[in-house]
């Protein structure tokens, strides 16, 4: 089919932050995840674990605990504040100071009959503070009896009348009505040298049968009787800390995460056949992390864990799911499901987005020609042109580089900045006068001729700005007719400047006619969130790829799915394609071959040749090796539309430059691992 010159880039030092806390909303099947840099991510477990939303972090915001109250998300952190997030505009909604020093934990009752939902936080100063969750804010209610020592962990009894609090060396049970501590459970310290150290009850769970389960820094998981305050059973699971606990909703299974990176499962089983005398029995151990497991969620079918090694791991429990299905496969999510790399394809520039700065690189050059498989001599090395530090304490949420390489824009939740670049002299000038409507953006996009900037704004709207020297001018705001308030996370301006396609997290894909400045059409809503969209430069067909790996091609002219798309849907995608576990994060086209669609996920990039037959269920999807070994005439017989290349792994970005060479940005996971701090020392054989 053809050769590609590939710029293989590995100098993007992307480093995800450690996972600090997680909270799972069983009703909406959304997982909220907080990272060490204060960033918040929302994963939709119902939609192929797609990372729907990202709320960028902030300097000084150290989220220690997360908690869902209905669809509202609260966090508490060591800065002593409680924050509620605006999940539509992807920013903190408000922050309340708790006045109790650093907050270690936050807990809300799972449900409440009354309208007001109590929510409480555990503070450094030993107080448990009760807050009432109101419609638009939370209000401090009262303090429970103040204790000596910090409150590390909290758990409501399902009846909402009792609270268990994990502290230093002890667990206390409070009566919510009176605010008095009713029981004091002393937790034994570790043996040996750690005898002198206080034991920290890192995590606690309060079951409906008044069983209290605690995990502590001495490596114990202890089962207590909450009614009598007596210890029922101790499981020593690690030499290090048990940092996180999570109980399944039916209270039959429990997982504990340790500093060794293991997750230990306990199940409430009877040791005899008659089902009497059930006991918590240690059943399984998972080792999917190299570092501390800081956050754990026990969903219906899986154990979700995250920690210092920055990866989110979904480990299905094989007794809950059907074996050997896609559902039973373990998933590791290492990269964000959106692109952090922007490529100026005319200028050969790459923009890397970090939370606190941007890097602009110029690609290297080579004039050699070589055979497939060769590495060409690099005539000019790639160079870092600019490192741009952000202003303010909010982290960068999106950035863009114009195709000509003359404009650079980035946005935080509170501010938006636009720069003019002079590439020849490498100068950067901030565009000072910006339209007022351009306060902040979820996503940015330049038109192909670099004359327009599109910025997705609140309520799914898109602000269009005209770029002129030396200032820029607000043109208009495009709004969808649906009135959706979900943020737009994908923007694509067509080559000819006529169309603008947007996709939001409500799965809506809108196409605006930029000539007429109005909504052209809305693509029929598909049940899965779009992960990448693109408009074909010549045929004006919109290609949408969804989180469930489906591909649609929609003709903007005819306002219907194209023949090819129908054929694809009729025949169905190959099972191996559907079983991939990372979403397609970018779609582009090859101007030389109009029938080619180029897309990539984390582990492969693929050229779909629409002129070739689709792969049938029995044909080999990954057939490049076979084709390579066949003589030319035989290849025609075995070809199919999906040409997948797995040469490059851990892809952050695959782009086609104007000179038809590919840019591939890799970030090997090993490089990420090597930058992590050393894990706890473990005795290995012969060490």
């Amino acid at each position: 089919m053809g050769e590609f010159k590939v710029h293989r880039v590995r100098f993007f030092d992307y480093m995800p932050a450690a996972i600090r806390a997680m909270a799972f909303n069983r009703r909406t099947e959304r997982l909220a995840l907080a990272r060490a840099d204060g960033a918040l991510e929302i994963f939709n477990f119902a939609d192929n674990y797609f990372q729907e939303k990202v709320i960028p972090g902030q300097d000084g915001r150290a989220v220690e605990a997360l908690c869902w109250v209905g669809r509202r998300l609260f966090s508490a952190g060591l800065n002593g504040e409680i924050t509620e997030y605006d999940l539509e505009n992807l920013r903190p909604r408000y922050t309340v100071e708790a006045y109790g020093g650093p907050i270690w934990t936050i807990s809300a009752v799972a449900y409440s009959l009354s309208g007001c939902v109590p929510c409480q936080v555990g503070c450094e100063d030993g107080t448990v503070k009760m807050f009432e969750v109101l419609e638009d804010r939370i209000q401090f209610q009262r303090n429970l009896d103040r204790q000596k020592g910090r409150i590390i962990s909290l758990c409501w009894h399902p009846s909402a009348s009792l609270i268990a609090a994990g502290m230093m060396d002890m667990i206390r049970i409070f009566d919510v009505e009176t605010g008095r501590a009713t029981h004091r459970l002393l937790v034994e310290r570790g043996v040996g040298a750690s005898k002198s150290k206080e034991v920290v009850v890192w995590s606690i769970a309060f079951l409906s049968d008044h069983t209290i389960i605690s995990g502590d820094s001495a490596g114990k998981v202890q089962i207590w009787d909450g009614l009598t305050g007596t210890l029922a059973r101790t499981h020593l699971v690690t030499k290090w800390d048990v940092l996180a606990l999570s109980v399944s909703q039916d209270e039959s299974s429990l997982v504990a995460g340790t500093s060794e990176g293991t997750v230990v499962q306990f199940q409430f089983l009877s040791s005899t056949l008659d089902g009497q005398n059930k006991d918590w029995v240690r059943t399984r151990t998972f080792k999917n992390h190299s570092h501390d497991v800081r956050a754990l969620v026990h969903t219906e079918t899986a154990v979700v864990s995250g920690g210092m090694d920055t990866q989110l791991v979904v480990r299905p429990l094989l007794d809950k799911v059907e074996k050997n299905t896609q559902e039973s496969a373990m998933r590791k999510m290492a990269f964000p499901h959106r692109s952090l790399v922007c490529c100026a394809k005319k200028a050969g520039l790459l923009l890397f987005q970090f939370p606190d700065h941007l890097e602009l690189w110029r690609l290297g050059e080579s004039d050699g020609h070589g055979n497939p498989g060769d590495s060409l001599p690099v005539k000019r090395k790639p160079e870092k042109l600019i490192q741009l530090k952000r202003k303010g304490e909010d982290h960068i949420c999106c950035s863009a580089l114009s195709p000509c390489g003359g404009w650079l824009a980035y946005s935080t939740v509170t501010s938006f900045r636009l720069y003019r670049l002079q590439n020849n002299t490498i100068s950067i000038t901030k565009v000072s006068k910006l339209p007022k409507d351009l306060r902040s953006a979820h996503q940015l996009c330049f038109s192909t001729d670099s004359s327009r900037l599109f910025a997705s704004s609140i309520n799914s709207s898109v602000v269009v700005v005209a770029l002129n020297q030396p200032e820029c001018k607000y043109l208009h705001t495009l709004k969808p007719k649906s009135g959706s308030r979900e943020p737009v996370h994908l923007l694509f301006a067509s080559e000819d400047g006529k169309w603008l396609a947007t996709a939001n997290t409500a799965c809506e894909v809108q196409v605006y006619n930029l000539d007429k400045i109005k909504l052209h059409c809305t693509v029929p809503v598909y049940g899965s969130c779009p992960t990448a969209i693109a408009i074909h430069p010549t045929s004006s067909n919109l290609v949408v790829v969804h989180a469930d790996q489906q591909i649609f091609e929609y003709s903007l002219v005819q306002k219907e799915y194209t023949e090819w798309s129908r054929r694809l849907q009729k025949q169905g995608l190959h099972s191996l394609w559907l079983e991939r576990d990372t979403p397609i994060t970018h779609v582009t086209f090859n101007p030389k071959h109009p029938a080619h669609i180029i897309l990539h996920d984390m582990f492969m990039f693929c050229v779909i040749d629409q002129s070739l037959p689709l792969p049938e269920a029995k044909t080999r999807l990954f057939n490049q090796m076979i084709l390579r070994s066949l003589p030319e005439p035989m290849r025609i017989l075995h070809r199919h539309a999906f040409k997948m290349c797995k040469t490059f792994q851990n892809l952050m970005c695959v782009r086609l430059l104007e000179d038809h060479s590919l840019v591939v940005v890799e970030r090997p996971l090993l490089d990420i691992m090597s930058q992590l701090p050393a894990p706890v020392r473990q005795k290995r054989f012969a060490t």
């Binding site: 010159k5 060769d374 060409l376």
Partner: protein, 726 residues
């Protein structure tokens, strides 16, 4: 495995005066397995109960009359039949006390023999070849009897066989040196005549034995030269019957029995079952040339299964009934029970190994499996095949005869003749065929040499060893003999070519080599290969000192001085620098060194070697260690020895010997003052080696890192590559 049991005497005999005749005319089966009828050559017929060794009845003809054929028992009528004076047939029952009162009939021609076997009617064979059933004959006793045989043709042996469908009278005749087999079918009567192939001129079969199996009649006959042949005749036989026309009778050689000196005179072979024959009057292969043995041979494997010495004269008579052999010998008729279980390959081989050395006296001792197996199957095409095999057998037997003659020669002949004959034998092309007998040849030579101090044939022995057909277990005395005769060349050859020299012998060699005087050693010549190797090695004594492989004598000296707390003086070191250090000079002479090298290269196992090594005196050990040290130093200086392609001990062999020697004598060496320097030197070797190895380990580690780095080389920060999609 067939076995012969303890025999017992059935009766005494009254042999004729000239002792050529046992006095037994025949032994015939009676009613059951425990009764036989013995007819003596004079006048009496006796019925014996075998297990009781007791006569039950006895009948005698009148004086003046003689019994001319052995009495037979007809189980159908429970009558005995005998012939007296050639023409008078007598029939009686056990109740008849006097033979004269019994039934008598006189026939018109001389009767050769009356035969009767169970299941058949009595058959009368006349001397001139006519055959009649007894009943038919007695109905008209005076009926004319035709003459079947030609003039000068006379019956030698006859028997009677009853098959499922027919009764046969079989007899062999001789006519002017030719032998014929007659096969007379009864009811309907047909006669077939076969000519037996001639054996060597003047030899006529000593004994016949016929048996019936698988619809074939098998005739077994023994010649005086020890050959046992088998001929097979179909029961159906040929239809045509041109009177007097004799078909050639195909035969196959079943066995070549050892005959010892001269030809067999009174011997008999009797088929016991399909695979076994009993032979009497043939020498036992392992017991000299006396012919008074009864042996059972397996014809499939050509192995001797059992043997028994028979006292007294053997008359060449042998009968077998119901697992008992009846042998007249000396003045008794003995009964020897036997057993022939179905022979298996394993048992045959097991026995064969046991009797191997003795058996190799037999001219052809190596059985051809092909022949055996194919003979079993290829019955129809016998004629052609047997002819071929006979020819090959003939050539074999002629060559093996000379082999045997050589063996005999060795025992007595003077040195020169033996030498010449052995050389002749070894110069033959089919040396590989001789392999089994070479061992015998060698051991005969060795035993002669051991007996006769004046007798020694070094070149013949060397030549034998050179054939590589020998090994230590074949002639266990050879190495020690060579040592005793100070034939070091032969010793070297043995060490080189014998794969199985026991550690004790190796040690004996080592001891002899170390302690021999250099004059002795330089006397003879040795294998040029080893000598030239040692010459090059010693020639390098004056070559430049290398510092290869991490060790040099000077550094060794440094280590030593370190080890001894700075005791070494500068002057001493200078001295060492000017003249070659003592450990650089070969401590033994050239030939001695070559021989020691041979010892180093022999295979051994530590645990067996150690106890024998302890026999060495401390002086010997020190000398040997010095030599090993010398070798080691030479080797570590230069990598040349292995590259030469000459026969030389490897470095690891040298080090292994050092280790074994130290293991065996360490305490002694520690106490021996003269060994001190040596031990210190060895210690410094080890030190240097350990150093070297640890350095090598370090290098390996860093090289491995390099390897890892090159594997990751393409994983740079940036590269421009070409890929192709299909």
């Amino acid at each position: 495995m067939a076995a012969l049991y303890e025999g017992y005497t059935l009766c005494g005999l009254a042999p004729a005066q000239n002792q050529s005749n046992s006095g037994v005319l025949g032994v015939e089966a009676e009613r059951d397995s425990d009764h036989v009828v013995v007819t003596d050559s004079t006048r009496s017929v006796t019925l014996y109960k075998v297990s009781d060794q007791k006569p039950l009845s006895s009948w005698t003809v009148k004086q003046g009359q003689t019994l001319t054929c052995s009495a037979v028992y007809n189980p159908q009528t429970k009558e005995y039949v005998a012939v007296s004076d050639g023409k008078v047939i007598r029939i009686w029952k056990q109740e008849h006390l006097l033979l004269d009162q019994a039934f008598k009939a006189t026939v018109s021609a001389d009767v050769w023999r009356v035969h009767c076997v169970a299941g058949g009617e009595p058959v009368v064979l006349f001397k001139r070849g006519a055959v009649r059933l007894l009943d038919a004959l007695l109905s008209a006793p005076q009926q004319p009897i035709e003459e079947v045989l030609a003039q000068e043709e006379s019956i030698r042996w006859s028997t009677n066989i009853v098959t499922e469908s027919q009764q046969f009278a079989i007899f062999t005749t001789e006519q002017k040196g030719d032998h014929f087999l007659y096969l007379q079918r009864l009811n309907p009567n047909t006669l077939q005549r076969y000519r037996l192939e001639r054996e060597e001129p003047g030899l006529s079969p000593l004994s016949f034995s016929a048996s019936y199996r698988d619809k074939h009649i098998r005739l077994l006959y023994l010649y005086p030269n020890g050959h046992v042949y088998q001929s097979v005749v179909s029961e159906r036989g040929l239809v045509t019957d041109e009177g007097g026309q004799a078909f050639p009778l195909p035969r196959s050689l079943l066995l070549s029995l050892p005959v010892g000196e001269g030809l067999l005179e009174a011997a008999s072979a009797q088929a016991l079952d399909e695979a076994h024959i009993a032979v009497v009057g043939v020498p036992h292969p392992s017991a000299g040339s006396g012919k008074d043995f009864l042996c059972i041979w397996n014809t499939n494997f050509q192995t001797l299964q059992a043997g028994k010495e028979i006292a007294g004269k053997i008359y060449g008579q042998l009968w077998s009934f119901w697992n008992k052999l009846f042998i007249p010998h000396g003045k008794t008729l003995s009964v020897i029970p036997y057993e022939c279980p179905k022979s298996s390959l394993a048992s045959a081989l097991g026995k064969m190994r046991q009797v191997k050395t003795e058996e190799s006296k037999a001219p052809t001792s190596v059985p051809s499996w092909n022949n055996i197996l194919h003979e079993e199957k290829a019955l129809p095409s016998r004629t052609v095949e047997t002819r071929k095999t006979r020819i090959t057998r003939k050539s074999q037997s002629s060559s093996s005869l000379t082999n045997y003659q050589v063996l005999e020669l060795i025992k007595t002949a003077p040195v020169e003749e033996v030498q010449r004959e052995v050389d002749l034998l070894l110069s033959r092309t089919d040396i590989q065929d001789l392999q089994p007998s070479l061992g015998q040849l060698a051991s005969t030579l060795v035993s002669r040499t051991l007996q006769d101090p004046a007798f020694y044939t070094p070149s013949s022995l060397a030549q034998l060893v050179h054939t590589r057909c020998l090994c230590h277990s074949v002639c266990p005395d050879l190495v020690l003999l060579a040592l005793e005769r100070k034939d070091y060349f032969l010793c070297q050859l043995c060490l080189q070519f014998f794969p199985d020299i026991p550690e004790a012998i190796t040690c004996a060699c080592l001891k002899a080599f170390i302690s021999m005087s250099d004059v002795d050693a330089e006397n003879g010549s040795l294998e040029p290969d080893g000598v030239s190797f040692m010459e090059t090695l010693i020639a390098r004594e004056r070559g430049p000192d290398g510092l290869l492989n991490g060790f040099s004598p000077t550094s060794a000296a440094e280590y030593r001085s370190d080890g001894l707390g700075g005791g070494g003086t500068r002057a001493q070191q200078d001295e060492e620098m000017t003249s070659p250090p003592p450990e650089q000079i070969c401590p033994v002479g050239l030939h001695k060194a070559v021989l020691l090298n041979e010892v180093l290269q022999t295979a051994y196992s530590d645990s067996f070697l150690l106890p024998h090594l302890k026999d060495l005196s401390s002086q010997q050990v020190v000398l040997f260690l010095q030599y090993l040290q010398f070798l080691y130093l030479k080797y570590s200086q230069d990598a040349f020895p292995q590259t030469h392609g000459l026969r030389s001990p490897s470095l690891s062999q040298i080090l292994d010997w050092v280790c074994v020697l130290l293991d065996a004598h360490f305490t002694v060496l520690v106490m021996t003052p003269e060994a001190k320097g040596l031990l210190v030197n060895l210690h410094s070797f080890v030190k240097s080696q350990v150093r070297l190895v640890s350095e090598l380990g370090k290098i390996e580690g860093s090289l491995q890192e390099l390897n890892k780095m090159t594997a990751k080389k393409d994983v740079g920060q940036y590269s421009i590559e070409i890929i192709e999609l299909f």
